[in-house]
Symmetry: C2
Subunit: 186 residues, 2 copies
C-alpha cells in the first residue's frame, strides 16, 4: 500500500513560514523564503514525479499558491487532495487535478492512498495538516529539512504534537548547507 511521507522544510527555530505569509510572500516576512531557499537535490531523491502517486495539501497552502497555478513542480498531473471545509468556487486551469476533501484527514489519506497505488503519498503541508496526520498516526515517514536560519516567529511546524508518538531517526544528510533528516513513524 502507498506510504504516506511528510516532506517539509523548517527554520532552525521551527517555523515553516515567517510572519505574515500572503500569496505574494508565501513563506512570510523575516526572510521566510530562506526556509526553502536551498538546493533541493537531496529532497528530490525521494520526492520525484516518478515516486509520488498522490499529494495531500491543506487548504491554506493551496490558496497561498493559487493551487500551484494549476501545475505543481512535480508536474505530470499528479492528483492533489486538498483538505478543506468547503470546495472553492473556481479552480486554476492546468495539469494538476484537485479533489477537495471535506470529511476530514482520514478520508483524505484513504483517497490519496487509493490514487497513489504503489507509489508515495506526498504530504506537502501546511503545518496544520501535518499536525493532524502525526497526531492521528496516519503518516509513515517524516522528512524534515532544517535550514540554517532563524525567522523569530511565524507558523510553527510542530504544535501540540502527541508526545507518545513513537519514532526513529533512519537517515541524516548534510547537503547544501542544510540538514535533512528522515524519521520512521510508528
Amino acid at each position: 500500500m502507498a506510504k504516506v511521507v511528510i516532506d517539509i522544510a523548517m527554520s532552525l527555530d521551527g517555523y515553516v513560514a515567517g510572519p505574515h505569509d500572503t500569496p505574494e510572500h508565501g513563506l512570510g516576512e523575516h526572510g521566510g523564503g530562506r526556509i526553502m531557499g536551498w538546493d533541493h537535490t537531496e529532497r528530490h531523491k525521494v520526492i520525484t514525479a516518478d515516486n509520488v502517486g498522490a499529494m495531500i495539501s491543506g487548504r491554506r497552502t493551496y490558496d497561498l499558491t493559487n493551487g500551484w497555478n494549476g501545475t505543481h513542480d512535480l508536474g505530470n498531473g499528479i492528483p492533489v487532495f486538498v483538505l478543506t471545509e468547503s470546495a472553492p468556487a473556481e479552480v486554476p486551469a492546468g495539469d494538476t487535478p484537485f479533489t477537495f476533501v471535506t470529511d476530514g484527514i482520514e478520508s483524505a489519506v484513504t483517497q490519496a492512498k487509493a490514487a497513489a497505488g504503489s507509489k508515495l503519498v506526498y504530504v506537502i503541508g501546511g503545518a496544520s495538516v501535518i499536525q493532524q496526520l502525526l497526531n492521528a498516526g496516519l503518516a509513515d515517514e517524516l522528512r524534515v529539512h532544517i535550514a540554517p536560519v532563524f525567522v523569530g516567529n511565524g507558523i510553527p511546524l510542530f504544535k501540540d504534537i502527541d508526545y507518545q508518538i513513537s519514532m526513529a531517526q533512519t537517515e541524516v544528510r548534510d547537503y547544501a548547507g542544510v540538514t535533512h533528516i528522515t524519521y520512521r513513524l510508528q
Copy 2:
C-alpha cells in the same frame, strides 16, 4: 580569546524540557528525559573537562540541578558563571566554584572568557540564557542535538530569536539515533 559555545539538546518539536520541570524531573513531564537520554559520545568530543575553561548557566538551570550538587559532570572545578537577579543565600558544597552575575549577560560572558583563557566557554543553558546570547551576538558556535522525540509542549529552545542573525551549518553528525548539528554564528 575563548570561544563561546552553546551546546544544547532539544526535542524535534523544539523543546529543551517538557511541561512542569521541577528539581525531581529536571526535563519535565511527557518523557522530557528523552531529550537528553542518549549516548553523549558525539557531544563529548567538544564539551570535555580538557576543552572547557568556564561555563555559563541561567539561574533556573542552577536551581533545578541544585548547582549540579556542587560537582558538574565535567568535574575538576571548572568555574560556573550563573546569570541571576540576586545570589542565593547558600551554595552547594563541592568542587564547582560558582560566580553569581547580577549585571547582565554581557558581563557573564566577559567574566567567563577571562576565566577560560584559551579554552572554551560552554553555555549550559537554559533556554533564556541562550536566547539572550544569540540575540546579543555573544556566541560563536551553536551545537544542537536533536533527539527523535516529541514532547508536545514545555520550554522552547528558540523563542523570538533575531531573524537577522547570520549563521552557517559547519558540521552534521548522525550518532546514536540523534542528529548533532554545529552552526557557526556571525
